[in-house]
């Protein structure tokens, strides 16, 4: 097994507020290997974007990393200063966010933005940077890239803008791309173009991708492994096929069951009752226990660790060594 490129251990992100400290991310651990796409899924408030923000050093104050460690290539990056971050962000970790218009400066041509970003990280003449910018635009599939170099962001369509943002993320040849809901603002036909692009780049450059999204369909087709987050904790992590088709955590199971699909028309959709707890009122023990059809006394009292059961791992007492799963499985919801 190769060394992980990104290694997150027991990450804890806190937001101190007047009414107490909110814990948005609570003991999250995972690895991403070179060339791997790790999907991070969860519903609103699960902590997926805060995990991403911590990894790229963009937590909004007063949010802060309150515990655990983040290592990129073995080097700790969770305590970097703003100056040190500037050399890591963009250079070693590229970022793609949901809304391409907020990542692009409306007053500069895309060629200028690309060339400037390249020169920030790599010493290069303006001319060479412009040539590199053109290459990048071609690489991300902008038709007529040569003529588009001097166009402004508003002259591109939504899908093309997102391609430009991906080109920006690639400027310094990062080894990890953090993509936070990169396809959410796009139409389905464009969505597929962008995920295909991410996959191709990942394959051709051995770039790792952390793909944060709420869309399990995108994960199923794009990611190699997936981490399912709930209330700031990892509920389950494993190869995407196992997590989708043989979910272990009751939350993952419920989540997969309630997603409508094109292939069947059930009389009713399975539903998980209730909703994700607020950060101000995270239940004791397993955060999912009030909604869990299989919760028992231990779930209320004690928080389950991630139990490794290769190929995947689930934070659920049902998967503790020697746990009796048969009784629990037959319990009706």
């Amino acid at each position: 097994m190769t060394e992980p490129l990104l290694s997150v251990r027991d990450l804890r992100v806190e937001f101190p507020t007047r009414r107490g400290v909110l814990t948005a991310v609570d003991g999250v651990s995972f690895d991403i290997h070179p060339g791997e796409i790790l999907g991070v899924v969860g519903e609103s408030g699960a902590g997926k974007s805060q995990t991403g923000a911590a990894i790229i050093g963009l937590l909004e104050p007063p949010g802060r990393v309150a515990g655990g460690e983040i290592r990129l290539d073995g080097r700790r990056i969770d305590g970097l200063t703003a100056d040190q971050w500037r050399k890591v962000r963009g250079r070693e970790i590229g970022a793609v966010f949901q809304d391409p218009l907020t990542s692009l400066n409306p007053l500069y041509t895309v060629g200028r933005q690309l060339a400037e970003t390249i020169r920030t990280h790599i010493p290069m003449s303006e001319r060479a940077a412009r040539a590199r910018a053109l290459e990048l635009l071609q690489e991300v599939g902008i038709p007529g890239a040569k003529d588009r170099l001097d166009a402004y962001p508003h002259q591109f369509s939504g899908g093309m803008r997102q391609r430009v943002v991906i080109a920006l993320a690639l400027c310094a040849g990062p080894r990890l791309i953090l993509a936070d809901e990169p396809t959410t603002a796009l139409d389905v036909s464009i969505q597929a173009q962008i995920t295909a692009l991410l996959k191709r780049l990942c394959r051709e450059h051995d770039t790792a991708v952390m793909l944060i999204t709420h869309d399990m369909g995108v994960i199923a087709e794009t990611a190699d492994r997936v981490a399912v987050l709930y209330s700031g904790r990892v509920a389950e992590v494993g190869p995407v096929d196992d997590v989708v088709n043989r979910p272990r955590h009751p939350y993952t199971e419920g989540l997969m069951a309630c997603i409508p699909t094109l292939h069947a028309r059930p009389a009713r959709l399975a539903q998980i009752e209730g909703s994700m707890p607020s950060l101000r009122a995270i239940p004791t023990g397993c955060a999912f226990h009030p909604r869990c059809p299989r919760a028992h006394d231990r779930c209320v009292a004690e928080r389950p660790p991630l139990f490794e059961n290769p190929p995947s791992a689930a934070a659920c007492w049902l998967w503790a060594p020697n746990a009796d799963r048969t009784a629990a499985v037959s319990a009706p919801s």
Binding site: E43, S44, G141, I142, P143, S157, G158, G159, M160, R163, D187, V188, S189, I190, Q191, A192, Q193, I194, T195, A196, L197, R200, H214, D215, M216, G217, V218, A220, E221, T222, V244, G254, L255, M256, C258, I259, P260, T261, L262, H263, A264, R265, P266, R268, L269, A270, Q271, I272, E273, S275, M276
Partner: protein, 369 residues
């Protein structure tokens, strides 16, 4: 769940559609001011958001309009609830032409019978009003009841009907989660005892576990109250679950209308096929899925002929010049209620349907734009 004040279910056996649209159009004039046109020679610009739409919405059933951004689906919804006046065409609701009524008083009886549920339950509820007042508003506005106690009782019943508690009437919208707020919007929509609900992206702002709750609720309410739905969404999986009849829109026009089961089993229009092929599916992921090439052209300057020809693998010269009409597919017995606007279908050039068959572009399809 009992609801004695709920109206008797409209007669769903009535063969006449609840809503009948013929040649419905909405054009927005985005021309520069007259002076600029005269002095600078600028041209008129007209956005044909909806351009000649024919559609029947059957009673007691769910009709869905799907399509990508800019296809005009939300404009149709707004015309249906009389928020927009159509530029041309007929809009018949329960047998009466209402598209050209502009007088509030004349529209009032129709507006009571149709209600709308919006996408964003955070923006569609007045944050300063208690829930009880929000839900009672349609009852008061339409003068359906004036006894305060009776209204309060009715609001309580509506809340329970959508899975909340009667006591929630005393609370404010911010005290509710996204899914609960969408339940509030539904309760408010039901308050005037409508026959017809227009749901514009009713679950797009919700998490999937909550989406399932709301979709199940909409289905239960339809069965109990005999409601007719028009659901506007871009999400084909949602449509698959909720719709009986589906209209697929592209650049302001319908390219295919069909019963839901038929549409997914054997889509005919190349755009419908490409849409179905492009959606990532959790149960049958295709990790080598080839994306549909190109993008939706600007509705300000739609391609001539069939608007989809720029992205269609079957397009020929006729498609580039002559606009295809929406024709019933198959005659007499062979007609399954579907209609399609495609020259390739009419000329029998359409290949048999097999998933993946339409995506002919090469392995670098993600590069094509």
């Amino acid at each position: 769940m009992t609801a004695p004040t709920v109206p008797p279910a409209p007669n769903t056996d009535d063969p006449a559609p609840l809503v009948r649209l013929r040649g419905l159009s909405k054009h927005f004039d985005l021309s520069p001011p007259l002076l600029s046109r005269l002095l600078e020679g600028k041209r008129r610009r007209v956005l044909k958001a909806v351009d000649g739409l024919d559609l029947d919405i059957a009673r007691g059933r769910t009709t869905a309009l799907v399509g990508e951004s800019g296809c005009g689906k939300s404009t149709v919804a707004r015309m249906l609830v009389t928020l927009y006046t159509p530029t041309a065409g007929d809009l018949e609701f329960e047998g009466t032409e209402i598209g050209r009524l502009s007088d509030r008083r004349a529209l009032a009886p129709f507006r009571r019978r149709m209600q709308m549920i919006f996408q964003d339950p955070f923006a569609s509820l007045n944050p300063r009003w208690r829930v009880g007042r929000i839900i009672a508003e349609p009852i008061r506005a339409h003068g359906l009841m004036d006894d305060t106690t009776a209204i309060r009782r009715r609001v309580g019943m509506l809340l329970e009907h959508v899975g909340l508690r009667a006591a929630d009437a005393e609370r404010f919208p911010h005290e509710f989660s996204g899914g609960q707020r969408q339940r509030l919007s539904i309760a408010r929509a039901l308050a005037s005892k409508p026959h017809f609900l227009v749901c514009d992206e009713p679950t797009s702002a919700l998490d999937v576990s909550v989406q399932a709750q709301i979709l199940n609720l909409l289905r239960d309410l339809q069965r109990e109250l005999g409601l007719t739905y028009l659901v506007i969404t871009h999400d084909l999986a949602v449509v698959r679950f909720i719709a009986d009849t589906i209209g697929v829109m592209y650049l302001g026009r319908l390219c295919e209308v069909a019963p839901a089961d038929r549409l997914f089993a054997a889509p005919r229009h190349p755009y419908t096929r490409l849409l179905i092929e492009t959606v990532p599916d959790l149960r049958a992921p295709d990790r080598d899925r080839k994306p549909m090439a190109g993008e939706v052209p600007s509705p300000l300057d739609p391609p001539p002929g069939c608007a989809f020809h720029t992205r269609c693998p079957l397009a020929n010269d006729r498609c580039r010049t002559e606009r295809p009409a929406l024709r019933p597919h198959g005659e007499g017995q062979a007609n399954d209620g579907g209609a399609v606007a495609c020259h390739a279908v009419e000329e029998r050039r359409l290949p048999a349907w097999a998933p993946g068959s339409m995506l002919v572009s090469g392995s670098n399809a993600d590069r094509t734009g």
